[in-house]
């Protein structure tokens, strides 16, 4: 499966999803720029970043062209929310974990990961994380 996810397409999809989220929340016009200004102000309030996983995954789904099953962890340490989001994405058609991958650093031991993670502090980070997820999903679908 070939996904078309140029940076321009990703940015367009993010904007579309943002408008959908605003509509669903019956919210007034609130630009993504304004959102990220507030996001940085309320950085230490982990309630605020709850919109981020929905924005990211709906954007991914829009580009993939179908719903996916996903799970997101807002990564915390004893000091609180770290700003990192960790995603596990499942293909509902096959139940395969699309964020599953194997690495070997020494050619002997295989390390397995099932999540894709990234820190989000601004709009560009959203674009980067969506791109990272799409690249991983594309390679998983191509390997299937």
């Amino acid at each position: 499966m070939q996904l078309t996810h140029t940076e321009e397409r990703i940015k367009q999809a993010i904007e579309e999803v943002w408008q959908e989220l605003l509509q669903e929340a019956d919210a007034e016009n609130y630009s993504l720029e304004e959102y990220f200004e507030d996001y940085r102000k309320y950085w230490d309030d982990p309630c605020f970043p709850n919109d981020i996983p929905e924005l990211i995954m709906r954007t991914v789904e829009k580009i993939v062209g179908r719903p996916l099953s996903w799970y997101c962890e807002l990564v915390r340490d004893p000091a609180g929310f770290t700003g990192e989001y960790s995603f596990v994405v499942i293909d509902p058609k096959t139940q395969k974990c699309l964020t599953y991958r194997e690495y070997t650093f020494d050619g002997v031991n295989v390390h397995r990961f099932i999540n894709v993670a990234g820190t989000v502090v601004n709009y560009e980070d959203i674009v980067r994380l969506v791109t990272k997820l799409l690249n991983q999903i594309q390679s998983a679908l191509a390997a299937a």
């Binding site: 799970y71 962890e73 609180g80 499942i90 509902p92 139940q95």
Partner: protein, 137 residues
């Protein structure tokens, strides 16, 4: 899933972690909001499931918090399980109400030893069901 087998698996896991009183551990994780104890509850749950299947899995878990601003465990836990060889998500569940929607994680409230037994049993049943559905296909 046989309750006696689940109890046995939990006992084995407890022995591995040298946990003498499961009920006390689980309650302290919740009542005192202790993240370290909650992590042990998670480890025990995961290990008991692996003992039941005689198989290691890849896990992701969340210790849920009652408070947004501080990380105080509230006795709720979520787990995602993936088979290390096939990459199949074993906690996958289709939404019975909304067709086309599905869930990747298993969520349980673990606030007592009984809850822990129940969580391991339900989680193992879900994994078994997913393993069987894949085998049929």
């Amino acid at each position: 899933m046989d309750r006696e087998k689940v109890l046995q698996a939990l006992r084995e896991a407890q022995a591995e972690y040298d946990i003498k009183n499961l009920d006390r551990l689980v309650r302290e994780a919740w009542e005192e909001g202790d993240v370290l104890y909650a992590e042990i509850v998670v480890e025990l749950t995961e290990r008991a499931v692996e003992i039941l299947f005689d198989q290691n899995f890849i896990w992701v878990h969340i210790i849920e918090s009652e408070d947004c601003e501080e990380w105080i465990p509230d006795g709720w836990y979520s787990f995602v399980v993936v088979h290390p060889e096939t990459g199949q998500c074993l906690t996958f569940l289709k939404d019975p109400v909304h067709s086309g929607k599905s869930r990747a994680s298993f969520r349980a409230r673990i606030r007592s030893a009984d809850d822990a037994v129940d969580a391991v049993m339900r989680l193992a049943e879900l994994i078994e069901q997913n393993l069987k559905s894949r085998a049929v296909e």
